[in-house]
Symmetry: C2
């Protein structure tokens, strides 16, 4: 039959280790990105005699979590920091996952709230004629009170 049997000759067991190409195919993460994540310490691998990477299957779970976190807008550095809080750098178990995802949900909530506030202000300003921007709440997204100093300080750095 000559089936494709990559990443070692161990057989088709579930515990089979994965080559970088297999991980890429199964995770949807490019090989170059896998190299990159490894260089950043987000995932890890060991090497074969021929210096090729081999991954444990749980790298797929780790990648799944990384993707979810990225979708919520968490930067890689923070994702790494979160993963680093796990003992032995192990892949999160159920409890870890609950903790991580709860934390990330807070971030999401905060960002949703911020965008919602902004949208509401925008809503209130459409066609309101405050275009003079003298007192428009949009100018000051941080909900800051008026500035002092010489003359009006319109736009503030950012929220």
């Amino acid at each position: 039959m000559a089936m494709k049997q990559r990443a070692g000759t161990v057989g088709g067991g579930l515990g089979r280790e994965l080559s970088v190409g297999e991980v890429a195919e199964r995770s949807g993460v490019a090989v170059s990105a896998l190299h990159f994540y490894e260089s950043k310490g987000l995932i890890s691998s060991w090497r074969t005699g021929g210096n090729q990477r081999r991954y444990a299957r749980d790298v797929l779970r780790r990648l799944g979590i990384i993707k979810v976190a990225q979708n919520t807008g968490i930067p890689l550095a923070e994702i790494k920091a979160a993963l680093d809080t796990l003992p032995d750098g192990r892949t999160p178990n159920k409890k870890d996952w609950a903790r991580l995802s709860a934390r990330w949900r807070e971030d999401l909530d905060a960002r949703i709230a911020q965008l919602t506030r902004l949208r509401d202000r925008l809503e209130g300003c459409i066609g309101c004629g405050c275009l003079s921007m003298e007192n428009c709440p949009l100018r000051n997204p941080g909900d800051q009170a008026g500035e002092h100093g010489s003359g009006p300080r319109y736009l503030e750095p950012q929220s």
Copy 2:
């Protein structure tokens, strides 16, 4: 008296033109950013005999609008494109503003909706034990601009 009277000797009228430093101070946008915006065509100025920039006051309004749009996550290129739809590159009047802000609000709405969906999925997955990531909805957020390459093979197509 000897009041600070910059950017020309035209007097204190409201129509006074502004130097780059004054615009920076009043808008909260760094001088370097003003140069940058100008190079990108988002704002404009004329020059004095000594080659210094002078701005009309409505540059402040334009900057306000740019900031609002940026806060909603619109990239500069798109902001420019939107501003470019205005005749004569004029600063938006009330009607223009209504159109632009309505458009941007849609973007905001969409992003809020996306984040909310993500949060809800995350919520549903906290502690749900789907950590195996076999079928977890989080793995494949429907809103993702589909992965490129040969068909998004998300995690675990086999076993």
